[in-house]
Symmetry: D4
Subunit: 229 residues, 8 copies
């Protein structure tokens, strides 16, 4: 359902077809260029991005997905050449809003390159999982959601043309699914981190993420700057 | 020459033989167990360690070398089983003294494991070199000293029995040589980092080193915690 | 249905069995040795070849498939030892006819070796895909047809005995399927290339393909002639 | 000796020391920012560049070396942030001047990134060597100069700080040595290419170099765009 | 069914759901901290352990499973920080009780690290399989149980959070399944080892396992101490 | 059905169960120690062997399967320690009987080691396939039977305990299936070899197989004796 | 010294310079196109070839060196495009003359491709060394000559331009040195092969060499046709 | 000097030439077939072997070297086909004589294969070095002798023809040098092992060596039987 603050947004109809069945009655708000001015995403927002590929200097930002953790998602299409998105920028920079990502390193670099704003403070579910789930080496979002939340999410649209002017329903559903579970994952991962006494080291790792992303953009993407090599 | 504060220290005789010729009249003060109480190493001290190997849970700390950058070195032998060295600990923890290392990650982990003190603040010439000397992938101490300072240092004793009760002259000369050049390297590297606008990112990397060392000791030594894998 | 210009050609019956069901009522014209004299393939023809393998000096050309993009295909069997096919040669050399291939490098080398004619001008859907679809590293024909056209094509007969005197129905259907989609793919890929400003660089790459194929035949097949090695 | 057209250039003194002995009485003209307006480099100029490293988006152009093949070299220092060098730009773009490089792909990308001008026409001694000298896989400049010209050149300064404000004599001598032999190499390589019937394919490869360099800058540096992968 | 000696133990209900169907009416006794005092596991006990991961110095012991080979299993949860379990310790050290493991090397190291007791005497079904089943390189427990006993066991819960305070039914069923088959496997493997004259060499390998586990804990986990390297 | 010459042989009942359904009414004659004296396998016999593994000096011969190409198979169990089998030996050495194998190199080495007789003359369907089927790199028996004969054979029992005193029905069916198709494969492969002018080179390769097997047994199993290394 | 039968041959002067000193007073007869009609090379001739590289379909034969084992060598330059050399062809095909090569596989393929004659009978010192000298994996000609004959030969000219019209003295000396030692090596290797009972298997390997060379030319150069892959 | 018990042994003359200079006045006693009956090698004997290579089933034992640690060596040539050497066998089996080897695993397997006697008790300087010298990964005999004893030994003759009927002086000197230092190395390594608390684990490793060698001969030479794979 489309809430008042998003009057001019396209509301993605509750999926009826088989492909989308697992996203039951999910509400997706689609925007072009930026979040609406009156969007209220709370003090802890899950964020993910879709780009044209993994090479930062080549593959532009196409979509930013956000969720306040209430089962709804805002999907913002970014135009080719667009270099400002004031509402998103304000949110990224807001020190009172925690930004949840899965593999934040990539997303915050992409967002910094697109809009010149370094996100913070940050929580990264991939790093949290590496520190908490020592019993496995599978730390993909799909793995986390399956084991910790008991859901199956599809990654089939991950490699698709996010630069297309009109995204397909499957793309929208996929994009949204990447931010709908991060709040719940954080709750589970924090409990494990605390149980094993690794909560503080996780915070220190999160704290270095902006520097790590800056190194990526500056030309050290391939290097583990801390390695002996 | 043996200075007053180190009255009970063994002074390594100025090397006469060919092997040691390049360390001309170098003054090395040898201590057992700790620095003397009245040691004064200034506000910027170069530190290196020698261990029985590279496996932290197995290979104990044997030697700590320190230099205030005046061409002299203090070499402290650490006994097997020793878990305290108050003067060294105080120095490591002193927030007003910058600690210079080459590949600090290893040394601060070793020192933390030996004495329970995490060193700080830190400057690492290997990281500085990776950020400043983009024109090469050789960031060993020997490489830095050769290119930036025009000296040749020998690494021949690097793999020797540092747990031996009495170190050879060659070992002492080698141990000292690892701390004698760090101040000069820092000067050169800082100039390059500033020239290329990378001084700040270097500081951020140095700042994460204690967390990186803690990850090593906690069991993530093999992992780049920030990698996608 | 068999059109008039192909009076002496064998017409492959519309497939009835399950295996071929996805090629609904596809018209395949089978020829021996060359295209018929009155074949008219338009100004943009999709071409593919089947050989006895991937070693140019060993594995001879067996089949040339062509389509004008109207959903029908001409499949020409080439006899062992055959070194001329005047109608095909004329088509390959005709500067007013664009030749579409998927991985043209291989096919134009095979055709040049068989008939001594270098094809041109050329469009290669694999190169176009590498430049346009930066969000994936899957650039096989099957991948392109699935994502961009929503069809599934089978590659099961790819490795089969194309030197056999009588090709099976499955082989014919497979051979045809490799040229039926290239026109539609080109349309989609050109739109993406233009959207991202990569249309010109794609043309430059197509332009080098004859030289690249000649290098393959001259003995540099393994080398990237432009690499630093 | 310093010729009239270069009145304001620093003339590097004929090297006296052992290190430089093999560059007998070589004349090197050092310039800052651009070639002098009245420089005359003939219709065939050897060009090489020195940068801060091999990552185009990170490592800036520091030095451009040029030689008209008369045993003298012009060495131009490029300042950090400099984005124009009108005389060099004019030379690069001049269709009547052949530009000789060793591994042109890198240099023309660097120059294009620095000044926005794509060099042409081009001759690349590395590609020529790969096509002519099939009896070896050593196609470094040092290898070519040794085998074809009987000289030994040193590559010791290759990895040094070319961003330094004042280059050392060793750096200048090294920089110059990279352009002094290209004319002679071209003569030898062209003779071999013609003898083996590979002169035309070499021209075709040279012709694709601007596109190859553009692909590097656009984000396909790692890919052989023509490979099957 | 819950036997008298285990009055205060939780009895896992006979699984009704599909997931657990293959463990028909299996009896699992769940304990916290240690075996009950009156547990009687016979003179040949199958043992397996679950930990938080594979890094001994990081990943603590969470569960010890034991079976006397009668189709029932005792599952003992070990608390974080727990360093004693007298009944388990007594069993491990009892020279009159043969301990069966699959890949004993890992389990006896984990148990030694947790409780300071080296298990013995030992039988390892993985080593027995390597010596007896030369016709395959698949020596996982699942492979052995399938081929030699005709059962299928699931490894799906292998990588799950064994440190959780309350284990799921699926975890309990998995944990138990790892000890229920070892007695039967030993019978089959011993017959094969004797048939091929390899029973004695197997005993010698079992005899070295405590030393091998000690090497792992001492810091040689990565090394084959007997290799030439 | 059991023919007269094999009066004392066990006749494997025509398989009724699903697993064996594809071997319709196949006749398998099981023997212990040798072929019966009056066995008549014609002038072209397909042979396969089963062993305890792939290490010749360790893993003994367990089973020899033979077929005259009439859809029936003789399966001979070889006892541990057995070193003679006169009827098999006579057959292997008979110069008037062609022996068909798939990957003869392994089988003739195993048979030579077991009985001291080098088989000859030999036809190897794997080598024939490598020379004829250049369009694929899949030359397993299963692949050949599928593509050239349109049957599916199972390899599931390939890694099973062939040293067992009583073989299972599944093992017998599998063992037989490895010799039932070799005659038909030879017919198909010979046609292809002749069509492509490779029949003679195939014969030369077959001729070297005894030497190749002898090299394996003499200690050069890992080496390609003809390689440059 | 120039013997009568070679009246029109160029006689290479006894080397005076340091480079050639180890070839003391070696007599080298240089010919163009073929051996002289009256050349008498005995019943056992050492042969080596020089080409433009290692790709048979690309890199033509340039030089054939021959020696009858008397310390002199005939060096025959082969012109580009030359396809006949009657005297060499007669020698290659003469069944009464044993041809000695080091790594015959390459040379006989090159000679067959150049002149259409397959050499035979053949002796290959590399294969003999692999079978006799099991104590090493160094089977280069240089290694054999050093260990078995106590001489050092230079391989420096191995990679040089053998297609040049006029070969340098260093090239001629190198070319000759490759055939001067083969007779002596054969004597030593045969003694070792006989001592260890490997003389017969060596003959069998030599016998397969023409087939192996034919496989190389037919397109199986990369494959070990006898491997399981 | 030749001692009385070795009256019929050849005494190797004190080396005069440069090559052997470092074995000053070393006494080597050469024997054929076995040690003399009255040889007295004390209760701790260093042993090494030379073979025709590293493949046990192919490469026979040629030489056994022994030393009682007094700077002299007995070198025993073993004939091809020899399967008994009573005095050596008695020594190997004598439980009161400790046998020192460097990489015992290989030598005791070779000796067991040659004479059917498993050596014991054993001390292996390579294993002792791996456990004591954790600061390096260089555990070759040459490395040990250099670091711990300050001598340089040559390995140049390591790969030579030990099956030759008459060994060269260089071979004899090399063979002897491999046993002359083992006593001194043991003293140094034992001191280090005790200092670090690793003496007992070393004994346990030595104790498994006969089983490890037996595994090698039985066909598990490639496998680390204790690995998880």
């Amino acid at each position: 359902m489309l809430g008042a603050p998003y009057a001019n947004a396209f509301v993605f109809p509750a999926p009826a077809r088989k492909l989308l069945s697992r996203l039951r009655a999910m509400t997706i708000r689609l925007h072009r260029g930026d979040l609406p001015d009156d969007a209220n995403l709370g003090d802890c927002v899950a964020i993910d991005t879709e780009t044209l590929g993994l090479v930062p200097h080549r593959d532009r930002l196409c979509v930013v997905q956000l969720s306040r953790g209430d089962g709804t998602a805002d999907v913002v299409q970014i135009a080719a050449g667009q270099s400002r998105a004031p509402n998103i920028e304000r949110l990224l920079a807001d020190p009172s809003v925690l930004k949840l990502f899965h593999f934040a390193r990539f997303d915050i670099a992409v967002l910094f390159r697109a809009f010149g704003v370094m996100a913070g403070p940050i929580y990264c579910t991939k790093i949290a999982s590496k520190l908490a789930r020592t019993y496995t080496d599978r730390h993909g979002l799909k793995d986390l959601v399956r084991e910790l939340l008991g859901h199956e999410i599809s990654k089939q649209q991950q490699s698709s043309d996010w630069g297309s002017d009109s995204l397909s329903e499957a793309q929208l559903a996929y994009a949204a699914s990447d931010v709908l579970y991060l709040h719940a994952l954080r709750t589970r991962l924090d409990a494990m981190l605390k149980r094993e006494g690794r909560f503080e080291i996780a915070q220190e790792c999160f704290g270095f993420l902006p520097a790590r992303a800056r190194l990526d953009l500056m030309g050290w993407a391939e290097a583990d700057i801390f390695s002996h090599q």
